[in-house]
Symmetry: C2
Subunit: 140 residues, 2 copies
């Protein structure tokens, strides 16, 4: 039986998680991919090389991030943050976001490392999800 | 760096998984929830009590199921099956699907047990996703 989570519990699930499933809409079809992310205030920060999810979110910025803590098939919590994709393009802001992501995910890739040291590194797309609404349930 | 998975690898990821993230569209907004499922031929079988995801899929049957094998943040595989939600309403077919699900997820709930023994048990929604397209990538 599932029970709604309190907002505090929802925020804790999202704060503690490192991998979430990003849901977006691609040509009127749902699309879900795992991403590493960081919750920072009311923003979820992430980055990606250009690809299907980035093109989909640019075309339709309504997205959600689902994060769960699964103990087993019958005891789990799942939280969802609904919001809006916003691409971060200013070099200083890109560097600041990448630095935060790297402090949580320390294994640098050449592209990310380049962004921290040189704002001109072009390939990686840095973005935030502006969180508008949270929901969550648990089964226990 | 992500690399496309072969169709065989994609099917293996989905076959071995027990928890997937179902993506659907609810009022023009993406919605993602974890579900237990079973891949059976070209169908993904599952069930749920009525609720937001069921109402969303009845209104818009385009769905996807994302399944991953995450070793760590930098080594993972993710597969997606895209398809169409089909509700299973014939009592004999409902019983057959629930029996398959129970053989993979043996912990009965009262509702599911009732369906196996009495087709009239009304509450649980039994459904399949008719898989139309598969994609998958790995990062290694």
């Amino acid at each position: 039986m599932t029970i709604p989570l309190s907002e505090l519990d929802i925020i804790n699930v999202i704060l503690k998680g490192k991998i979430g499933r990003l849901g977006c809409i691609d040509n009127d079809e749902p699309y879900v991919v795992p991403i590493n992310y960081l919750l920072d205030g009311r923003s979820i920060l992430s980055h990606s090389l250009p690809g299907k999810k980035i093109y989909a979110m640019r075309a339709n910025p309504r997205v959600c991030l689902q994060v769960d803590q699964i103990h087993d098939n019958y005891r789990w919590r799942s939280a969802i943050a609904f919001g809006r994709f916003v691409e971060i393009e200013r070099p200083a802001e890109r560097r600041a976001v990448i630095a935060k992501l790297l402090s949580r995910f320390p294994q640098l890739t050449p592209v990310e490392s380049a962004i921290v040291h040189d704002a001109a590194a072009p390939d990686s797309v840095v973005f935030r999800i502006e969180v508008e609404r949270l929901t969550g349930v648990e089964e226990e």
